[in-house]
Symmetry: C2
């Protein structure tokens, strides 16, 4: 078994003819045995057909396979869209001899264009035949859109003297920020967990990973994160003395994928952690972190490697929280540029500029009002972001 595989799972990716350049565009994940499943989905009121279908199907807590296509989001496609989502599931159930309700589907790409369902239906038998335990990389490639690299992570953990595995793959640019209308993430593990426990752990992991990255603030219609647990490790979370060990590994997989999404964000040249400390409430801390991470002025200044802390102060001030501007401290990595709301002097400028020249750094905002904190991972706003998104459909 290679390091990306997860016992009892197989995956594959093929070219079904949706992408024009011959690249892989249809992926499949399969569990050899019935697996438990939990999912989190976009909060957008406009939800793609596959999202609506999966939200129903995950209620059973059971899943055997996930079929995913790129290039077309199957969103704003009405009744036909739902028929096509059902047809995707049916194609897999027929090819693999599964109950239709045990198949989940996902789509990513352009909104509002009907899915070329016949291309998908024709490709599924071949896709099913090419399933292998080593197929996760092919599947990762098949779900890429503007991604420049596939995102695939594997981790092992140990619990009660046995090993377990977690393999995760993702595409897109973030749960609260998908540039192109879709963040998809699928996680396979051989842990044994009831759906309700799986869901609670997934929600916790997502909050500090996929829900804490911001590319452009646009929430997708297709965001889907699914975790499948097939139990083959023989480790049962319900019976284990330390289920936290699994949570830690799941956290690590999702945080790593989240970081990879930000690093590969459209046009991004910098990855920046925005940390807020000293807030009165966790909500205050989060509001400031998100407002700063979303500010086009802050993000263009980062692109320009300009330590323009005034924009950070201004974004903090419009975050909708009670705050005292005279208590504000701002740091770039360890370089403090603002103390009690005032510049620490022109001599800090060159040190701060050196920090901004790095590919990765942190911005820390201390409100000095309490002890709560939050952080968000973001990227800069570059000329290439505009270029990529000005003609995405063409």
């Amino acid at each position: 078994m290679t390091s990306i595989a997860c016992p009892g799972f197989q995956a594959a990716g093929v070219h079904a003819g949706l992408k024009n350049n011959g690249a892989k565009d249809l992926g499949l994940i399969f569990s050899d045995v019935p697996a438990h499943v939990a999912g989190v989905f976009t909060t957008n009121r406009v939800k793609a057909a596959p999202v609506l279908l999966d939200m129903e199907r995950v209620k059973t807590g059971r899943c055997r396979a996930i079929l995913v296509n790129s290039r077309n989001a199957n969103c704003c496609t009405g009744d036909r869209g739902m028929q096509d989502a059902l047809a995707m599931g049916r194609a897999v159930s027929e090819a693999l001899g599964l109950d239709e309700n045990d198949v989940l589907v996902a789509s990513t790409g352009v909104i509002g264009t009907p899915l070329p369902i016949e291309k998908i239906e024709s490709a599924v038998p071949d896709l099913a035949r090419s399933l292998t335990p080593q197929g996760f990389m092919d599947c990762s490639r098949a779900i890429m859109t503007t991604d420049t690299v596939p995102k695939l992570v594997h981790r092992q953990g140990a619990l009660d003297g046995k090993n377990f595995h977690v393999t995760g793959l993702a595409k897109g640019s973030g749960m609260i920020a998908p540039n192109m209308a879709t963040m998809l993430c699928f996680v396979c593990t051989d842990i044994q967990a009831e759906p309700v426990i799986l869901r609670s752990m997934l929600l916790k992991s997502v909050q500090n990973s996929l829900n804490s990255i911001i590319i452009d603030g646009d929430t997708s219609t297709n965001d889907t994160t699914l975790v499948l647990a097939n139990g083959l490790s023989g480790i049962s979370l319900a019976d284990s003395g330390c289920p936290q060990a699994f949570q830690t590994v799941l956290d690590e997989v999702l945080i790593t994928l989240a970081r990879e999404l930000v690093r590969d964000a459209e046009g991004a040249t910098k990855m920046v952690k925005v940390s807020v400390k000293g807030a009165m409430t966790p909500e205050d801390a989060r509001a400031v972190a998100e407002t700063v991470a979303n500010s086009p002025l802050v993000k263009t200044a980062i692109f320009g490697e300009d330590a323009n802390w005034g924009r950070i102060a201004a974004a903090t001030g419009r975050a909708g929280i009670l705050m005292d501007p005279g208590s504000l401290d701002i740091f770039f990595d360890d370089v403090q540029m603002v103390s009690n709301g005032l510049s620490c002097g022109a001599q800090t400028e060159s040190a701060a500029t050196a920090v901004l020249k790095q590919a990765e750094f942190s911005i820390t905002i201390d409100l000095n009002a309490g002890s709560e904190e939050a952080s968000v991972l973001t990227c800069d706003f570059s000329i290439d972001y505009v270029k990529i998104n000005a003609d995405y459909r063409s």
Copy 2:
């Protein structure tokens, strides 16, 4: 009197040495007689010293002069910032023999750098000597920062058989969107109005003009809008049978200035009206209009002249309102691309693309859920926006 003047007001603009290129950077507006004043200011918790000073001084309802500098926002400058704002007012009161409390001040530019107050103090006597009724254009130029053209509007109205005048000037890029930490707007009129009436009318006018434009969603620390009324027309709003006639002209001046701000927004190539109809509440309509107008994905698609209505649907869905995606209609000018949440077909694509090639057009979103509506003026998100803001301080 030229068409830009307002009876009983004088203005001027000079180079005080704040801008490096010799351009005007210090402006003054003066009322020959005591005027009433009303103001609206930024909602940002981080407020520049001149904003804090003006918020106090407008409470008297009286004003004789406004001194404005560009290039430096006098924000996040602590006690010294307030001392400098007071010194700006004092310089004018001494030069013109006014009560210090009757002088308002405003600043725009970079945040966090102390004001070179001695340059301003040295320039004020000369500035005061150059006041003329025709000086509004010079004053408009003096408050420009990344603006490429001065924004100056004059309108006349008639009420009770007499004429009145309204002259307004502005700089920056919007009340809820100043790209560079400042939107300033000053309006002079010879109407006679009590401060409380003036304020109520100003709030009403601002709501549909300066508060309904979005460039980049960043709220400034220095936003200030002031209206001065010196009463020299002999028309008293309190005694008039039709004060609405004044409101109409004030609306027109502020809406015209707001349009000019959007047209001259940093890097903008398009001006787009985002109209939302059929909402259940006015707040719902406004939330959708603002979310769509703020979406980087929508704004980059506009820059790319791409009728990517899926991004508009997705932004609508994340606006935080209850909505039925299946009721959504979307138009570009008169071209309907979406009906009941579905594409009107590929044949509408070329007509919609033709609309997007125009410099000005509208996007209409009909929620078909009620009868409330709202609109917001916005612009595209261009490569030049990123270029301008990546190195603003240098």
